[in-house]
């Protein structure tokens, strides 16, 4: 059984962290970061060339994370691979002991390093999740029998503050119908706005981890250049980051906000956990968790 599934079933408040694998083959910093997070978080998400920026692949990064004692959540993106390649990767991941998956459609190629690339999207995330469930039942997507079947803990992405919400919910309903085990949300900045989403997930009995971002100057720059997919960073946060006299002060303010939100999320008892992104500052996570009363 997937260790992350066990953690989900424990009912404890979970913390997952999203960390981009290195861009290149120098893994020393990445490995050091993994070392710092080991034992401090429940799982680490390894994105698949997030925002279409080319990075070391998530399967290799998942194995590195596992070797460092972390539970990896492997991103399966539909952007760059067709159903054959995704199936092959899934089988490969499983035999290498990677059995927790986050299935996403994938940020469009235009955000990233190679906007001229062919966008694949042979499957959408709903179809990919359905395919994974089919593989677990013993058949590939062509209906052919698999010799030995994988068993995954499968997550999907949702946006609690999607506007309009109904079309987004239509897609989320389908993901739940084909079978997901957990949700990790996009970064949210206004927890109150997530109330309808929380009502929905409670009704459905699905566990959701709230997406939180440590907003850095780099994030704001990317956002302003339309290279950061996801929810709007609120204007007041953008001003705060931009107007801070030093980058360090901006970081302190963002960090304080993150701690406050973590405490609120934990206290609300509505969320299964938090899913934190802090690009390039992952080493701060143990300290932030301690400040939020979530230290281990």
């Amino acid at each position: 059984m997937s260790k992350f599934r066990e953690r989900l079933e424990s009912g404890e408040f979970l913390v997952t962290v999203e960390a981009s694998p290195p861009k290149g083959t120098e893994t020393a910093d990445f490995l050091a970061m993994l070392g710092k997070l080991a034992g401090r978080v429940d799982a680490i998400n390894l994105p698949d060339s997030r925002a279409a920026n080319i990075h070391l692949g998530p399967l290799a990064a998942s194995i590195l994370a596992k070797e460092k004692g972390l539970e990896p959540i492997l991103t399966i993106s539909c952007r760059d691979r067709n159903r054959i390649a995704i199936s092959a990767d899934l089988l490969g991941a499983y035999v290498l002991g990677i059995d927790t998956i986050l299935c996403v459609s994938g940020d469009y190629v235009s955000f990233g390093d190679a906007p001229q690339a062919k966008p694949v999207y042979d499957l959408d995330s709903v179809q990919a999740i359905k395919m994974i469930r089919g593989m677990e039942a013993g058949e590939d997507i062509g209906g052919n029998v698999l010799k030995g079947t994988p068993r995954f803990c499968v997550g999907c992405v949702a946006n609690p503050v999607a506007d309009p919400f109904e079309p987004h919910l239509l897609k989320l309903e389908k993901k739940l119908a084909v079978g997901v085990d957990f949700i990790q949300t996009l970064d949210i900045y206004d927890l109150n706005a997530a109330a309808p989403f929380l009502d929905y997930v409670r009704d459905k009995g699905i566990k959701a981890l709230a997406g939180l971002r440590l907003v850095t100057k780099r994030d704001v720059d990317l956002w302003e250049n339309r290279r950061l997919p996801g929810n709007d960073i609120p204007r007041e946060i953008i001003s705060e980051v931009k107007e801070a006299p030093t980058e360090e002060e901006a970081l302190q303010k963002s960090r304080a906000r993150l701690v406050t939100m973590l405490k609120e999320i934990r206290a609300s008892n509505m969320w299964a956990g938090a899913h934190i992104t802090m690009e390039g500052h992952e080493d701060l996570i143990p300290q932030i968790l301690t400040e939020a009363g979530l230290g281990r």
């Binding site: 959408d124 992405v157 946006n159 999607a162 079309p167 309903e173 339309r226 929810n231």
Partner: protein, 226 residues
């Protein structure tokens, strides 16, 4: 209709390098409507080339002709006498016309003068928008007359991606998300339950190129095994 745009002039100049006699051949149907390759555009390109060669003090003998459709053998026959005089044909037809022309006159050097862009509608004067990717499995009955394959850059069949923001597309924020449009149309027409069904992955074997379509009444004639 097929929508095309004329190739950049420097690219056309480069493709004509080394030749001294060319027939610019327009097409009177789709590319004429989208102001890229009809009779008028043949005249314009001819003048532009004449001026450019004059300025370079080089010579290029230019002929002009336009047929009703370059994708139809019958119309290509019309130019069989005129074409004899020219070793090079610069076709302003879509990619279909260019290929058909090259096939019909294998001894000629056939060059494209336009880039074929998409199948679209004529929204207004001088404005065309893509509406169909020719996926050979039309979903429009299920999606309120809005094509998810074409109008969603990711071609998602089961709802919007999480990149949809304020009802806008992740790829082009000036555009309404296709799935927001689909949802609204289906809701307005009381057919929401139809989009709640999980659509299976597309069958790309139906889009294997090059496609051939034989009308059922003509199968014996073409020995087609459809």
């Amino acid at each position: 209709m097929i929508v095309a745009k004329r190739k950049p002039f420097p690219e056309i100049m480069e493709s004509l390098e080394g030749y001294d006699k060319v027939l610019i051949l327009g097409c009177g149907t789709c590319v004429a409507v989208c102001l890229a390759g009809g009779e008028k555009e043949v005249g314009l390109l001819s003048s532009q080339l004449a001026i450019a060669y004059e300025l370079k003090e080089k010579s290029l003998e230019i002929g002009e002709a336009t047929v009703e459709r370059q994708c139809d053998r019958e119309f290509l026959q019309e130019i069989r006498h005129q074409i004899k005089e020219y070793p090079v044909i610069l076709s302003l037809a879509c990619g279909v016309g260019v290929q058909f022309l090259a096939e019909a006159y294998p001894d000629k050097i056939v060059l494209p003068g336009v880039d074929t862009a998409f199948i679209g509608s004529n929204d207004d004067v001088g404005l065309w928008t893509e509406r169909c990717r020719m996926c050979n499995q039309c979903y429009l009955a299920l999606t309120g007359g809005v094509c998810p394959v074409t109008m969603c850059p990711k071609g998602l069949l089961n709802g919007p991606c999480s990149g949809m923001r304020n009802g806008r597309c992740e790829v082009d924020p000036d555009r309404t998300c296709a799935w927001v449009l689909i949802y609204e149309r289906m809701k307005e027409t009381g057919r929401l339950e139809r989009v709640q069904t999980v659509l299976p992955p597309r069958d790309y074997s139906r889009s294997t190129t090059p496609a051939v379509l034989t009308h059922k009444a003509y199968r014996r004639r073409y020995s087609a095994n459809e």
